[in-house]
């Protein structure tokens, strides 16, 4: 775990050369979709020649390949956007670059961020950093692996239903999904706009805190951004009231994952926090809500990919066939499943029974959370029911794959901040993360608690 101060104390060029070397050494994990060697070195020289230094001066980082920048193609790991060079830079990336950070490349993901293993990438899966026969998790799988392999201290990810937290858990790194609205989504490929969040995968809680502090705050290009509220907490974490979500600790959860979570809870108690078991009865319905609401939003957000204004276009005689063939060739099977489920739940005759009912149950789930947050500051539980599974193990059964998200989607539907912190390893040597969830805008509280337990 290399602290940010190590990087800022060296020359930018040295940092970038090291990161590029490590990236090449670890090519076989297939964590990168592209590397910006030339541009990164040019930027490093610029930074080394500049007297004014930013907070991340010369620190190399990686972006998930669904962040738009003019450097390198933004593919979203899809054939649809293969060769798409964006004319704009995502706000999150621009803010980090303004502090001197240097993007060295783009990380693999499930195509359009649809998935929980990075196996839905049009360019092949990423291997887990601790066991190459296992998945990286997803959808920010590449971002988690480049941090776990110590290529860079942090990588950007997106989290719509667990896409930062679950790969963070699977690879043993810190993963933070901030409060919905904290970080601007301008310049990031949209998936499900009511839950999409930009966040960070990092080698420590401190690194994650610095990065979030820089990225957060209002952006006139994203009307859903909240006025800046994030203030990192310094010093000892105050004593908190912690609730252990009993629905997340059931028999269905892998015994190693449960015992690692229990050990983490004991640590919280030893640190003087009050810990009690709590119930989130609607949690078991959250996955069903998610797999209605998200496909609905996906089907409309992905409507823009028609092969006309940008992206790849298939050859056909008529306009309608051009749309149809471009989309069939440009999307992966999981993209098509979600688009079609979305079309189904939004179509007349089914709208009330599926989409409207899901949005009402979402309200009930949010009410459940709000009631708990009257008595508790933080909720704790596992991130995922299992450690990283084998490559190919869940690809034949979409429901089985979706179940990997069962403990991460509730916070997404409610827009709550949630993070995944490494908590231990299984007997087979696989990392397991624990999830902390708090009320909206409590990001700093969660990070402070995680930092204390990290030590």
């Amino acid at each position: 775990m290399t602290p940010i101060s190590f990087y800022t104390s060296r020359s930018a060029r040295e940092n970038v050369l090291d990161a590029l070397k490590k990236a090449k050494m670890n090519e076989s994990y297939h964590a990168f979709l592209s590397i910006n060697e030339e541009q990164a070195l040019a930027r490093a020289d610029e930074i080394d020649n500049n007297k004014s230094k930013g907070k991340l001066s010369g620190v190399p980082f990686v972006i998930k390949d669904n962040f738009l920048t003019p450097v390198g193609a933004t593919t979203a790991a899809s054939h649809m956007l293969e060769g798409f060079y964006a004319p704009v830079t995502a706000t999150a990336v621009a803010r980090l670059e303004a502090e001197g950070a240097i993007c060295i490349g783009r990380a693999n993901l499930d195509a359009f961020a649809h998935g929980g293993s990075t196996e839905n990438s049009a360019f092949g899966p990423t291997n887990n950093a601790h066991d190459k026969t296992r998945v990286a998790g997803g959808s920010s799988g590449g971002s988690a692996v480049v941090v776990a392999l110590d290529i860079v201290p942090f990588a950007l990810g997106t989290d719509t239903g667990g896409s930062i937290r679950q790969p963070a858990s699977f690879n043993g790194v810190v993963g933070v999904k901030p409060t919905y609205g904290m970080v601007s989504r301008y310049g990031v490929v949209a998936m499900a706009s009511s839950t999409d969040v930009i966040g960070v995968l990092a080698n420590s809680v401190d690194t994650a805190t610095i990065v979030l502090d820089i990225m957060g705050g209002q952006d006139e290009n994203d009307a859903t951004t909240l006025p800046s509220y994030f203030e990192p907490l310094i010093g000892d974490a105050p004593k908190r009231r912690v609730g252990v979500v009993k629905e997340f600790m059931s028999e269905d959860v892998d015994p190693d994952v449960r015992s690692i979570t229990e050990n983490y809870i004991e640590q919280l108690k030893r640190n003087g926090h009050t810990v009690e078991e709590v119930s989130l009865p609607l949690a078991k319905y959250a996955l069903a809500v998610y797999y209605i609401v998200v496909p609905a939003e996906v089907s409309s957000n992905l409507g823009r990919y028609d092969g006309i204004r940008y992206g790849s276009r298939a050859d056909a005689q008529t306009l309608a066939k051009t749309y149809g063939l471009s989309r069939d060739k440009g999307f992966e099977t999981e993209n098509k499943r979600r688009i079609m489920i979305g079309s189904y739940v939004l179509s007349s005759g089914y709208f009330d029974a599926y989409y409207l009912q899901a949005q009402k149950v979402r309200t009930l789930l949010i009410n459940d959370f709000n009631a708990l947050f009257e008595s508790y500051d933080v909720l704790v539980g596992p991130v995922a029911p299992t450690p990283a599974f084998k490559l190919g193990e869940n690809t034949a059964d979409p429901i089985k794959m979706y179940l990997a998200d069962i403990m991460t989607v509730p916070a997404s539907l409610a827009g709550l901040p949630a993070l995944s912190v490494p908590a231990g390893t299984t007997s087979a040597g696989l990392p397991v993360g624990v999830q902390l969830i708090g009320p909206r805008r409590s990001d700093a509280t969660l990070l402070a608690l995680a930092r204390e337990a990290e030590q």
């Binding site: 028609d306 306009l319 066939k321 069939d328 098509k336 029974a353 009912q357 009402k360 059964d397 429901i399």
Partner: protein, 96 residues
Amino acid sequence: MIQISHQDVLHLAQLSSLQLADEEVELLASDIEHILGYVEQLSELDTTGVEPTYQVVDLQNVWRDDIVQHSTVTRDDLLALAPDSANHQIKVPKVM
């Protein structure tokens, strides 16, 4: 239990502007059937009188001053992204 036929998949594909290959249709029919079967559990819950949640930020009507902001992106930048263009216009196949 919901049943999704070959015809249903083709209809959904049409609504979604997806020209599916024949071999994709069968597979998608069974996947979609399973997924809808799973999410159907929400019908167990009584939601009478509950308001739906469409968005989770309490922000409403975020305004800005009505001033034209000049983008750094030019018309040529955008046209260059299109697979086919001519005379400063994006070209598409025949519509009718």
